[in-house]
């Protein structure tokens, strides 16, 4: 059973961090507030928010954590991905060449939990550090220039970056891409796709507001007025 801290309570801790003081009221945790994280502890969530927001910072579009990426990662780690359902886990686990790919002997949930713990221990000021300092930590991690004891640094970075990126751009049914942040940013209309009459219309913008699998309307979130069911 995960620790029963509500997402809003975790956020309260977040807002004390200098880098995250600009979070809007309607933040990423709000949607799932009053529910505990499924997997992450509050400390882990705070650390991940700082890490993810270094990878995808806020600009005209939300940062990773503002777009629900921490919620996404929480759900992923609690689900089949975290449990190693997509990985051949038979031992032994000798080390190999980069060309031989991922050879971590832990399931992703454990790998990431231990990885975050090791990073928090090595970089105690990470959450409160400025972007430059956090970027430099992540650069070292991504370049395998980081001593995490038994844990491999670059695979840990790759895993965290993959999850962050997925959380920003995957369908909102997975808890991230809140308000279609990622899809709005690039102009991807989403899961409802029918372009037979448009594919050969060259250089014509197609500003269809995104819609996900769950039919949550994007754009400013409103259904066209004519399509609204109305009382007779």
């Amino acid at each position: 059973m995960g620790t029963l801290f509500s997402r809003r309570a975790v956020l309260a801790g977040l807002t004390s961090g200098a880098a995250l003081s600009t979070l809007p009221i309607n933040h990423a945790f709000a949607a799932l507030d009053d529910k505990p994280f499924y997997f992450l502890t509050p400390d882990e969530a705070r650390f991940l928010a700082a890490l993810c927001d270094t990878l995808i910072p806020e600009d005209d579009f939300p940062s990773a954590s503002q777009a629900g990426v921490v919620d996404f990662i929480d759900l992923q780690l609690a689900g089949p991905y975290g449990k190693g359902q997509f990985i051949y886990m038979q031992p032994p686990f000798p080390s190999g060449t980069p060309e031989q790919g991922y050879q971590v002997s832990l399931i992703p949930a454990t790998f990431i939990r231990q990885g975050i713990a090791a990073l928090m221990e090595a970089e105690t000021g990470f959450v409160d550090a400025d972007t430059e300092a956090r970027s430099s930590v992540l650069t070292r991690l991504s370049e395998d220039d980081f001593d995490l004891g038994d844990l491999p640094a670059k695979p840990l970075f790759d895993e965290l970056w993959t999850l962050t990126n997925q959380g920003y751009f995957a369908d909102p049914i997975y808890g991230g891409n809140e308000g279609y942040a990622g899809w709005e940013m690039v102009g991807f209309p989403g899961a409802h796709a029918y372009y037979l009459s448009f594919v050969d219309k060259h250089n014509v913008p197609y500003p269809q507001p995104p819609t996900g699998i769950n039919h949550e309307p994007g754009g400013d979130g409103r259904i066209p007025s004519g399509l609204k069911p109305q009382e007779v």
Binding site: D171, A193, L196, I213
Partner: protein, 594 residues
């Protein structure tokens, strides 16, 4: 001893993908009782692949829900024999399928034919460039079957798929606008080409301006309503952008379920058993034939299914694995160069150019299809003069528009940091203004690239995993670089280009990596030919060692083509089935003298 032994059947077919279901269709109609054993589950386009649920990039494209389950079975990999092979713990470089339809469900639908010279590669190069031209360390060989022999079968498969394209060589007459390098076609494509988006149009214009020969990519994404020769009805593609790695709920991408399975499933001679994994092919005591197969059924029981004919229709790699664990044929020994099973494993070389347009060009990349694009074949096979180049083979150069799925499609110009604020801005600014030009190249077989069994790791049934030893041959690296440079020239000649950058998976100095996706075009390991010392099956797809075992799929390719393999391997499948039906069944025997 198996838990149970079933009554004999005429034909047992291992695998329910394109070749397996096709074999069942053709043989069932020939009066043969066919049992198909499929290790995965039943699924159907109507009920399993409908949008919008199917349009889930994370689930299908990245968590590989339609593909093989590596948790229970995978392979081990190393670049060379001096290394210890390690398990491919996650899918990456290639994505074999599992379940009804196999990988034919999640293909892109790029439907090609081999060049006539591809099928006679050694003879062709030796006659054009001299006996010494092919580098010594390459196992280049002829297929033993010619283009002329395969043509009716290639043509028939295109009709099964409702292929969309424009013939560049119709009965020997060359036609501009099609692939002028292709072998003669006996018929036009059954459907007209796909519509072209802006990026491939610009590519085609630039290529034509340089005297090259652009044409629409041949496509099994159907372009108008169509009924195939089996009576399957296909619908027009909607350009939804969820093709490769996804099933098609629109009935618009030809796949083995709607094109074949639906047309045979009710036939009295047809039976398919799901969740049935074949453990081994059983040999007769005299060693001349196979007696049937032993499989684990959906209840976990070990079952012996006796059969008069065994058809091996698993994915290329797993056909070879099954031969090795069954002791069929003689395993290849790289030390002595003897043996054939596992020999001539090959892959493909992928390179490309990323092109970034000015703001005027709006590509709408999400309007895509698996086989949507414009291509040139001027640098494929031996369509260009190799005499001064120092390599054999080639590849096509294509500007395609597959999809704009936002996790996988994040083009950024060279020099963009891999994450952070600048990366984010670059993704946002370039998403609608980019084109990828792909170089899809051949790969030659060498004595050092092969498949055998791993000494350490096992699958969930306790069988040793397949072990892959592979790196790109120097020949292929030179070839890939050469064709990539030609692609760069086209990019330079395209209108509205702000910047471009090139990359090559087979670049000099970098090893083949099992991790990034390249192609699901693994070939060889059980190759076709006319000489039992260099091939596992004769030119009819029949095993030299066991005449009632017929082998299908890309494992037959002696070396890999510069094309996507589904068209060629299905041409071979119909060729084999033709000889099975017209000759072998009435008089079972080796169809060629060893």
């Amino acid at each position: 001893m198996p838990d149970k032994t079933l009554p004999r059947t005429d034909v047992v077919i291992i695998g329910g993908g394109w070749t397996g279901l096709t074999a069942a269709y053709e043989l069932a109609h020939e009066g043969q009782k066919c049992v198909v054993l499929e290790r995965g589950d039943h699924r159907h386009d109507a009920t399993s692949f409908g949008a919008p649920e199917e349009h889930d990039e994370l689930k299908y494209a990245l968590h590989h829900t339609h593909m093989m389950d590596v948790k229970t079975s995978t392979l081990t990999f190393r670049n060379n024999r001096s290394q210890r092979a390690l398990p491919m713990r996650r899918l990456g470089s290639f994505l074999p399928g599992e379940g009804l339809g196999g990988a034919g469900i999640h293909w892109n639908g790029q439907i090609w034919r081999p060049l006539p010279s591809d099928l006679e590669m050694r003879s062709h190069y030796e006659s054009r460039y001299g006996a010494q031209f092919i580098p010594e360390n390459l196992n280049v060989q002829d297929w033993g079957v010619t283009y002329e022999e395969l043509e009716p079968h290639l043509d028939f498969f295109e009709k099964i798929c409702g292929a969309a394209g424009y013939a560049g060589n119709l009965n020997g007459e060359t036609r501009e606008g099609g692939n002028v390098f292709e072998g003669p076609r006996s018929d036009e494509y059954p459907n007209p080409p796909m519509k072209q988006p802006i990026r491939s149009t610009l590519f085609g214009e630039a290529a034509a301006d340089m005297g090259l020969h652009p044409f629409p990519l041949p496509s099994a994404n159907v372009t108008q309503k169509y009924e195939n020769p089996y009576g399957a009805q296909l619908h027009p593609c909607t350009y939804c952008g969820f093709c490769e790695r996804f099933g098609c709920g629109y009935f618009a991408k030809a796949d083995p379920i709607i094109c074949v399975y639906d047309r045979i499933k009710e036939h009295e001679n047809f039976e398919i058993r799901f969740r049935s994994t074949v453990m081994r092919v059983e040999k007769s005591e005299d060693g001349q034939t196979a007696t049937g197969v032993t499989y684990i059924d959906s209840d976990g029981l070990e079952v012996f299914q006796p059969a008069d004919v065994v058809c091996m229709n698993a994915y290329a790699l797993w056909n070879v694995h099954l031969m090795l664990v069954s002791g069929l044929g003689r395993p290849y020994d790289p030390q002595t160069g003897t043996g054939t099973v596992g020999r001539n494993y090959a892959y493909q070389t992928l390179a490309g150019v990323d092109v970034f347009f000015d703001e005027e060009i709006i590509t709408n990349p999400f309007m895509g299809a698996g086989a949507l694009g414009t291509v040139i074949d001027d640098y494929n096979g031996d369509n260009f003069d190799h005499s001064e180049l120092g390599f054999v083979g080639g590849g096509y150069v294509a500007c395609n528009q597959y999809h704009g799925r936002p996790i996988s499609y994040q083009p950024t110009p060279e020099g963009t940091p891999p994450w952070g604020a600048e990366w984010k801005r670059a993704v946002r600014e370039n998403y609608l203004h980019h084109a990828g030009i792909g170089v899809h190249g051949s790969s030659m077989a060498t004595p050092d690239n092969f498949l055998d069994l791993d000494p350490t790791w096992t699958d969930s049934f306790g069988r040793p995993l397949l072990r892959m030893t592979f790196d790109f041959p120097d020949n292929d690296r030179r070839m890939s670089n050469y064709v990539m440079e030609r692609a760069v020239e086209i990019a330079r000649n395209m209108e509205h280009v702000r910047s471009y950058s090139s990359s090559n998976r087979a670049a000099e100095g970098s090893g083949y990596s099992i991790e990034p996706y390249q192609t699901t075009h693994n070939t060889g390991g059980a190759v076709i030919g006319t000489d039992p010392s260099t091939s596992v099956v004769n030119r009819y797809g029949q095993m030299w060692d066991h005449h009632n075992v017929f082998v299908f799929g890309a494992c037959l390719f002696p070396q890999n083509l510069g094309y996507n393999p589904t068209g060629p391997l299905m041409g071979l499948a119909y060729w084999t089935l033709d000889h099975l039906k017209s000759d072998y069944l009435a008089n079972p025997r080796p169809l060629m003298d060893a």
